[in-house]
């Protein structure tokens, strides 16, 4: 065996290995040179006065002094109007001497702390700070002028003179005339013959008819007034209509007897009327698990739980950004000891344990749609299907337990009809697996089979703005209506049973009535209603079907 053959045998794989490694290495981005660079601020040549511009400059060079050219420097000035922030003034590239220059016009007098940053791709990031002093008056914004100032100054005077002239003329005319007439009145007046009146005016031939008409009108009009329905005023416009309570509709002012078992306040404000730090902010939904209720604190991205004492305790707090952020989430539900929350920002469903530990984050894949996905409702079926209502895209989608898309209901744009949805809100699944959707824009609740076949639409005459829906074991449907500020109950067949939660059931001494009810859950004969502006209401309804 020759030495050459041995060397080749060893070297070849080694060479191949090195070639592979260097090839792989060169395929990546060139490694950042860990060469520290120095950034030096260059103070302006002369003192800055008034509101003239000053040149902010900084020089980027290597430790040996060699200038670095072609890199971008960001210039900031520390500003404290809205809290201490770095106000970005601009960017500038470094030239051949390594200096980058930016024109800046100071808007306040006094010291300006300039921070120049090199965020650098090619070298290590670095920054430098220096101060400049701007003497002279602060910049004052000049408001736009109305225009025609001289005319505006004179016009009121002119108008006043004209008005005075008219009143003066009238007064003069009246006083002179009256005085003239009075002055020329002779002392005595001669007796004049009285005017002879003939017989009474001959009655018009239509007299009986006219009298009859008058009598009828006199009786009919007040009756018609009190009988007339507000509905004759025509359809109120959807956008910007005043709050016309749906209770004016025939029969829709029925009250369902319901007792308020408990009210858990969620919103607390301080003396100035602003939310306290531990107050909830627009809690939009509630979920039940075991004996506990879970409140979804939408604007703060938290889940709160109701303690047996009736207080709210923090169960889970999400961070603001990131996939597990619950900031803005308005849909929560539960099944089999797990809590499901539809995360609004990244198209995810977050699964939590009852103690707030994140168990799973499901990425929902959905067909592309015109608008960003905004889950306003979530429901989970026994066989692991997850329904989500996408209010921005007017559809309800179904995904499996892994987040894979199964199907959707809805036309992708606001629509009416059996499969048309308009801004769907909360959804619920009943004991048979049917899906109930609160179709907010169409003022009704729609029912679909587990496969998505349309079955029924209820509540069109009674609902004004249905937000969410819940179904109890008997098949009764409870819908929160934001505009009517009440919960409306319907029988299994869609018949309206009555409403509760507004003034009629809660007495004058009771805690605040429903203002903006959103999420709803029902268990047995207890109905849990999440009111976004006040807190969690727990009602007990009688045997609703017995009505």
């Amino acid at each position: 065996m020759s030495a050459l053959k041995l060397a080749l045998a060893v070297a070849t794989p080694l060479i191949i290995l090195i070639a592979l490694v260097t090839h792989a290495a060169s395929a990546q981005t060139p490694p950042r040179q860990v060469v520290p660079v120095v950034l030096e601020g260059v103070l302006p040549a002369q003192q800055v006065t008034g509101q003239q511009s000053v040149t902010l400059a900084a020089r980027l060079h290597g430790p040996d002094g060699a200038p670095v050219r072609g890199e971008t420097l960001d210039f900031y000035v520390i500003n404290s109007v809205f809290g201490e922030h770095l106000m970005k003034v601009g960017q500038a590239p470094t030239d051949a001497t390594g200096t980058a220059e930016l024109l800046y016009e100071p808007t306040w007098a006094g010291e300006h702390t300039v921070v120049v940053r090199y965020g650098g791709a090619a070298y290590t990031p670095t920054q430098t700070t220096f101060r400049i002093n701007a003497a002279g008056p602060a910049h004052v914004h000049e408001n736009a002028r109305f225009g025609l100032e001289p005319v505006r100054a004179v016009a009121p005077l002119g108008a006043a003179l004209a008005i005075l002239a008219v009143w003066g003329t009238l007064a003069l005319a009246v006083t002179r005339t009256v005085r003239g007439i009075r002055a020329a009145a002779p002392a005595t007046s001669s007796a004049l013959p009285l005017v002879r009146m003939p017989e009474a005016l001959s009655p018009a031939p239509l007299r009986p008819v006219l009298l009859a008409i008058t009598v009828v009108m006199a009786l009919a009009l007040p009756i018609a007034w009190f009988q007339a329905r507000e509905g004759s005023a025509g359809p109120p416009a959807l956008a910007g209509a005043p709050l016309v309570p749906g209770a004016e509709q025939p029969g829709s002012d029925k009250i369902l007897p319901a007792a308020l078992l408990r009210f858990v306040p969620a919103i607390t404000t301080d003396a100035a009327g602003q939310l306290t730090p531990d107050s909830a902010d627009l809690p939009a939904d509630v979920a039940l698990l075991g004996d506990r209720q879970y409140v979804l604190d939408t604007n703060k991205g938290r889940i709160l739980t109701v303690t047996p004492a009736g207080q709210l305790a923090r169960m889970f707090e999400s961070d603001r950004d990131g996939e597990t952020s619950l900031l803005g989430a308005s849909a929560i539900t539960s099944l089999d000891g797990e809590i499901y929350v539809a995360g609004p920002r990244f198209g995810t469903v977050i699964v939590l344990s009852p103690f707030g530990k994140i168990e799973e984050v499901l990425k929902i894949e959905l067909p592309a749609a015109e608008h960003p996905f905004r889950p306003a409702g979530i429901a989970v079926t026994d066989d692991g299907q997850i329904w989500l209502s996408d209010s921005n895209n007017h559809r309800v989608v179904s995904v499996d337990r892994k987040g894979r898309f199964l199907g959707s209901i809805g036309k992708g744009a606001a629509a009416t009809g059996e499969y048309g949805l308009d801004t769907p809100g909360g959804i619920a699944v009943d004991a048979l697996g049917n899906l109930w959707v609160a179709d907010t824009g169409n003022h009704e609740v729609k029912k679909y089979s587990p496969k998505g076949v349309f079955l029924a639409a209820i509540g069109h005459r009674e609902l004004a703005r249905p937000e969410a829906v819940a179904v109890d074991d008997a098949g009764d449907i409870f819908v929160t209506d934001d505009e009517r500020a009440a919960v409306l109950a319907f029988g299994r067949d869609g018949a309206f049973l009555g409403s509760f939660g507004n003034d009629a059931t809660v007495g004058a001494q009771s805690p605040p009535r429903l203002q903006s009810p959103a999420g709803i859950e029902v268990k047995g004969t207890t109905v849990y209603v999440m009111d976004r502006l006040s807190g969690l209401f727990i009602f007990s309804v009688g045997a609703a079907s017995a009505q």
Binding site: V77, V81, F82, G83, H85, L86, M87, K88, V89, G90, E105, T107, A138, H139, V140, H141, E142, N143, R145, F146, G147, R152, P156, L157, A160, L164, R176, G180, A241, P242, L243, T269, D270, A271, G273, Q274, D281, L282, N299, G328, R345, F346, G347, I364, E365, L366, P367, A368, H371, P372, F373, R374, N392, D482, E483, P512, Q515, R532, L533, S534
Partner: protein, 264 residues
């Protein structure tokens, strides 16, 4: 009947007396009645700050959290959208969302037509409504070219918490029969806090600005020097041709910040 000389002199004297008192009374009247227009020009420049707003349309995703936050903060009914997000299709067929709040115009039509000067401008340039004076004639609503003013047709919702007296800077609760509108949360801004909408925008699309120091900032702390930012990003104002000189600038866009990977 010819006027005697005495009568003529008497009348002239009466006219002169009237003119003199009128002149003195006139200044008093002008001072009081010009509250709106007088404060609208000239006297506002002395305050330390002049508030304004910038909205980045490249970021707005139409979530309407700004509207909800504003309505929560001020206990407004659903129909009063002091900040309202419009769903617009531009001339190229792109869809974009455009929030609109009160433009805080420097040449405000609403202020000029108010018969009782219930709409006035505070020294910082914010247009406020004194709901204790407003008579509810709604001419300001007809005059506003941005449809930014809303009328309390019915009793507004009762705010929770301790009873408070509303004031123009924080008009809570609203008064029935008067007009309300966005006040750029001047009650927060004066304390260095952010307006409710700016604070609520999850896309960081809303900026609050100060025209004196030319600084603008959003809720994430992104701060820019306003003149340069608007110049570099082609900031524009709505209905510029009406010469209302609004203080809300827009950066044109249609949701560019919402890239395909994040949103389905």
């Amino acid at each position: 009947m010819p006027l005697s000389r005495r009568k003529l002199l008497q009348s002239l004297g009466a006219v002169a007396a009237l003119a003199l008192t009128g002149r003195a009374g006139w200044s008093a009247i002008v001072g009081r009645t010009m509250r709106g227009t007088a404060s609208a020009s000239g006297t506002t420049a002395k305050a330390e700050h002049q508030w304004a707003a910038v909205i980045d349309l490249r970021r707005c995703d139409g979530c309407r959290y700004c509207t909800e936050a504003c309505q929560t903060t001020h206990f407004l009914p659903k129909e009063m959208e002091w900040i309202k997000v419009y769903n617009v299709k531009d001339s190229n067929g792109n869809r974009l969302f455009m929030p609109r709040l009160c433009m805080q115009c420097e040449n405000p039509p609403c202020l000029k037509v108010c018969p009782v000067a219930a709409t006035f401008k505070n020294p910082e340039g914010i247009i406020l409504v004194d709901q204790d004076r407003c008579i509810g004639c709604r001419l300001c609503m007809a005059a506003c070219p941005y449809e930014a003013r809303y009328f309390n047709f019915s009793e507004p919702p009762r705010p929770s918490g301790p009873a408070r007296d509303p004031m123009p800077e924080f008009p809570v609760p609203q008064r029935r029969g008067t007009v309300g509108k966005c006040v750029l949360c001047v009650h927060y801004v004066q304390e260095g806090r952010l307006p409710a909408c700016v604070n609520a925008c999850p896309m960081d699309a809303l900026y609050i600005a100060d025209l004196n120091t030319r600084v603008m900032t959003n809720r994430s702390g992104e701060t820019y020097e306003m003149s340069r930012y608007l110049r570099e990003n082609d900031g524009f104002r709505l209905k510029e041709e009406l010469n209302t000189s609004p203080r809300v600038w827009y950066v044109a866009g249609h949701g560019q910040a919402l890239d395909g990977e994040r949103w389905r």
